[in-house]
Symmetry: C2
Subunit: 208 residues, 2 copies
DNA sequence: GACCATTGCTACGACGTCGAAGTAATGTCC
DNA sequence: GGACATTACTTCGACGTCGTAGCAATGGTC
C-alpha cells in the first residue's frame, strides 16, 4: 500500500508558492502593466477554477455524474414542465451541440433523462427528467452544497463582490445577453424558467 | 459557404441571460443562503474561465500551442538556466506527472524544448528551452497580451480586487503554500525563479 | 409550390487530460 | 550492505470535449 503524501486530504499537494503573483512579477519586468494585471486575472481565475472544479468533480463522481451532466439535470429539475429542448440547453449553458448530444446520451443510458419528441416541431427533441433523475440531482446537490459551496473561504460580502466583478468581466466579454438578462432572472426566481427565455426559442413553446 | 450567425465574432453566441444569477435565484428558493452564494461563486468562476480560456485557446492555436504547453514554455524562458525538472513543473504548476510527460513530448516534437539528463540525479530529467522555443513563446505572449489580457473589461483597481479575492479563495483551499509564498515571489521578481523554490527540490540544484 | 438558406440534431474522429500501474534510481535505517 | 520506502518518470487506457460534416425538417421568398 504505502500511500504517498499526495494522496492525503484533497487530490493534490499545494503548489510551493503563489504562481499567480510570481507570474505577475515576471510580467511586470517584461511587459506593460495592463498586460500583467490581465494575465494575473486569467491565471487567478484558471487556478481557482481548477481548485473548485477538482472538488466539485470529486463529489459528482460519487454520484456517477460529471458537472456538465449534473448541471443539465438541475436545469431540467427546475423547469416547470421537467423538460427542455436540446438546443435551449446548448444556447443557454453554452455547450456545443455535439456535447449536448453526448451528455443526453449518457444521462439517458443511466435512466436519469428521457428523449421525447417535440409536439409541434419534428426537428427538435426534448429531454425530460425522470423521477430517478430528480432523486439523483437532489442528493448530489445536497452533497456539493455541504462539501464545497458552503465551505468556500470567503464571507458573504466577499462572495458578492467576487460574483459582481466576474459578472462585469463576463458581460464585457459578451458571455451573456446583458439587455434581456434582468427580466429573465427575475422570472426564473418566481418559477418560470423556460418560458421566460426570450428570443426565437419561444416559438416552439406554444404548449403553455 | 453560408456561415451561420454563431460563426461571427467570437467562438460562441452569448447566452440569452446570466445563468449565474438565474441559478442563484433558484438556489435561494430551495437551499441555504451560504449554499446559494457559494454556488454562484463557482458558477461565476466557471463561466469566466470558459470565456477567457476560449479566447486564450484561440490565440494559442494560432501559434500551434495549447495553454498548458505555452505556460511551461514561459516558465522555462524565465528560468536563469533555461531548464527545469519535470517534477518541479508538475508540483509548481500542479499538473499531474503523466500530463507533464505528454506536454514535454509534444514540445520536444516541435523542437521547442529538449530533454537533458540531470547532472547529479539519474532519475530526473530536465526540460530545456531551445532558441526556437524562446521565439515562439515571445510571439505568443505578445499576441495574448494584446488580444486578451489587455482587453479584459475591468480597470486596474477592479483587477486588483479580483485577484485579491481569488488569492484568498485559493489560499483557503490550499492551492498554494501560503507560508513560503511571499519570499519566493519576491525572488522571482528579481530573477531567481528556480533556485528560490524552497523545499526538497533544491537539493538537485547544486549546479549554481 | 419549388427553391434555398437556416435550424436541430447526430455520427465520427482528433485531442488533451489524467488515474493507475509499472520501471528505474535513490535514500534510509538497522 | 541489504531490505524497504520513496521519488521520478513513462506507458497505457479511459474519459470528456468539441470541430466537422452530414442529414432531416422547416420557413421564407419569389
Amino acid at each position: 500500500m504505502a500511500r504517498s503524501k499526495a494522496a492525503r486530504g484533497r487530490g493534490f499537494e499545494p503548489a510551493p508558492f503563489d504562481v499567480v503573483e510570481a507570474s505577475r512579477a515576471v510580467w511586470l519586468r517584461h511587459w506593460e502593466p495592463e498586460a500583467a494585471s490581465g494575465m494575473a486575472v486569467y491565471a487567478a481565475i484558471l487556478r481557482s477554477y481548477q481548485l473548485l472544479a477538482d472538488e466539485v468533480g470529486r463529489v459528482m463522481r460519487r454520484h456517477d455524474l460529471t458537472f456538465a451532466r449534473y448541471e443539465v439535470l438541475t436545469w431540467l429539475m427546475t423547469d416547470p414542465e421537467s423538460s427542455l429542448t436540446l438546443s435551449w440547453i446548448s444556447k443557454t449553458l453554452r455547450i456545443p451541440p455535439a456535447t449536448v448530444t453526448n451528455i443526453i446520451d449518457r444521462l439517458e443510458q443511466d435512466k436519469l433523462v428521457r428523449r421525447v419528441a417535440h409536439p409541434s416541431d419534428a426537428r427538435t427533441t426534448l429531454a425530460e427528467i425522470t423521477p430517478r433523475g430528480r432523486k439523483v440531482a437532489t442528493v448530489a446537490t445536497e452533497d456539493v452544497n455541504a462539501t464545497v459551496y458552503q465551505r468556500i473561504g470567503l464571507d458573504e460580502d466577499q462572495r458578492r463582490q467576487l460574483t459582481d466583478l466576474l459578472a462585469q468581466l463576463r458581460a464585457s466579454g459578451n458571455e451573456f445577453d446583458v439587455e434581456r438578462s434582468d427580466e429573465v432572472v427575475e422570472k426564473v426566481g418566481s418559477r418560470q424558467a423556460r418560458k421566460a427565455v426570450g428570443g426565437q426559442d419561444n416559438r416552439h413553446d406554444d404548449v403553455a
